[in-house]
């Protein structure tokens, strides 16, 4: 049993969402849904985060930002794409400035559909993420034991090879 699953701190970034999913992510923190029950805090700081919650799709300008933030989150971490824009580009898929879902840039672990996502779905998504988080932790510990622990995920090639769809 790890503590990771009991205290997942999230970093929320609005890639190019319409705010719909965005405010629903925030709504999760508020009294009605209160995800702090599960130890979830919205840290707003990648250095402290475990779960990277992204709403909205990748566009030309936030590509670097998303990658940068992802790199600054200490391992193990998981990425949750919230909303269909984050999953696939959604309704804006065909816009000239939208390149598609978050998985074009960083590996995504959980996809939460919806437009806009309901807070309940977001909670479900994060709970799903917790399982993955724990798996990753176990894997990380094993890797260290095998003395193979290299800077996991820092290498952009790694990201592309594991997560890049298409």
């Amino acid at each position: 049993m790890t503590y990771l699953a009991k205290s997942p701190w999230i970093l929320h970034y609005d890639a190019s969402s319409c705010n719909g999913c965005d405010i629903e992510v925030l709504a999760c923190l508020t009294p009605m849904y209160d995800v702090e029950r599960f130890g979830i805090l919205n840290t707003g700081n990648p250095k402290h985060a475990d779960i990277f919650v992204i709403t909205g799709s990748i566009n030309e300008q936030n590509r670097e930002i998303v990658k940068n933030l992802y790199d600054q989150i200490p391992r193990p971490n998981v990425v949750v794409a919230v909303g269909i824009c984050a999953c696939s580009g959604g309704v804006f898929r065909e816009c000239y400035n939208v390149s598609g879902g978050i998985d074009k840039v960083i590996p995504v672990d959980v996809y939460v559909p919806g437009c806009a996502c309901r807070p309940e779905s977001i909670i479900d998504g994060i709970v799903t993420a917790l399982g993955i988080l724990e798996e990753k932790r176990t894997k990380m510990v094993l890797d260290v034991d095998k003395k193979e622990h290299r800077h996991a995920g820092l290498n952009p090639d790694h990201i592309l090879s594991t997560g890049g769809v298409q």
């Binding site: 990771l4 009991k6 205290s7 702090e36």
Partner: protein, 287 residues
């Protein structure tokens, strides 16, 4: 006299008590906000989690400062609970705090830097009042030694109520509660992200959390000194003071540093002069 046993007890037990206080704090805060909130053991899980995470740093010296911070804070608390000299405790506390500031400086990032400067501003804001607490306790009990003050039968609070109030005021700064969570706050919704602790992560952040627990226990220990003549009253005072801090946290917007500095200085001057002058008159002109 220094009592080593108490020092060791502090070093071992304070994190447990401090963590529990933090947990209860979060629970009560959540209820005040109309939600259920986390388990009261959540702070321990958070710290456990941080120890499980990868150690990410901007540069290695940060870890050094974080460790110095916790060591000196534990040392300070141990010194206090062992019954050492209160002034020395306060100086040691400042030293510990400086390590946190240096850790923030060393990261060379804008948010951490602004946080460090603000932390220093805060130190500047509360330091006079904290020393005045020691002075007031000395004037009331004729000793700087914590063990003497704790075993004194003088009803300290009746002699220095003003200084006690002033201390409660700056305690808000020390506990990083709204309105004075200026350099860093428990929830990072702040213009400077998480201020001094922005660049700390994983293990070093866990150390800093533990340090906060030590600090909380130490500060509540100082509250106790005002009521040491009656231990029950002392415990009650600690509880009431902490509840008051939670209440303040939930009923105030974050103030700006200018206000924090001005108001805490003003209070320090006023209660310092009034209370000490009153004592001076009471004691018939002898200090």
């Amino acid at each position: 006299m220094i009592n080593i046993v108490w020092a060791i007890v502090f070093v071992l037990v304070a994190p447990l008590i401090g963590g529990l206080i933090a947990g209860i704090d979060r629970k009560i805060t959540a209820h005040m906000q109309g939600r259920v909130g986390p388990s009261i053991f959540q702070p321990f899980w958070d710290v456990g989690k941080l120890f499980e995470k990868e150690n990410g740093v901007v540069n290695e010296t940060q870890i050094f400062y974080a460790i110095c911070y916790v060591i000196f804070m534990a040392f300070t608390g141990a010194l206090f609970f062992a019954g050492g000299d209160l002034l020395l405790v306060i100086f040691a506390l400042t030293l510990a705090q400086i390590f946190l500031v240096l850790g923030a400086y060393s990261a060379n990032s804008p948010y951490s830097f602004v946080g460090a400067e603000r932390e220093l501003l805060q130190i500047m804001a509360y330091e006079p009042m904290v020393i005045l607490v020691a002075v007031g306790l000395y004037v009331a009990t004729k000793s700087f030694s914590v063990s003497d003050i704790a075993s004194s039968t003088v009803p300290v609070i009746l002699l220095i109520p003003g200084i006690f109030l002033g201390f409660i005021y700056v305690l808000t700064i020390k506990l990083r509660k709204s309105p004075f969570d200026i350099s860093t706050s428990h929830h990072a919704h702040q213009e400077i992200v998480k201020g001094v602790t922005t660049e700390f992560s994983g293990r070093s952040l866990a150390w800093i959390e533990i340090t906060h627990w030590y600090e909380t226990v130490l500060l509540l220990g100082i509250v106790y000194l005002f009521f040491a003549f009656n231990p029950l009253l002392g415990i009650a005072a600690i509880i009431i003071v902490y509840l008051l801090e939670i209440f303040l946290d939930n009923t105030n917007a974050r103030a700006k540093w200018q206000f924090a500095l001005k108001s805490s200085w003003l209070i320090a001057v006023v209660v310092g002069v009034v209370n000490l002058a009153a004592l001076y008159v009471l004691n018939g002109g002898v200090s």
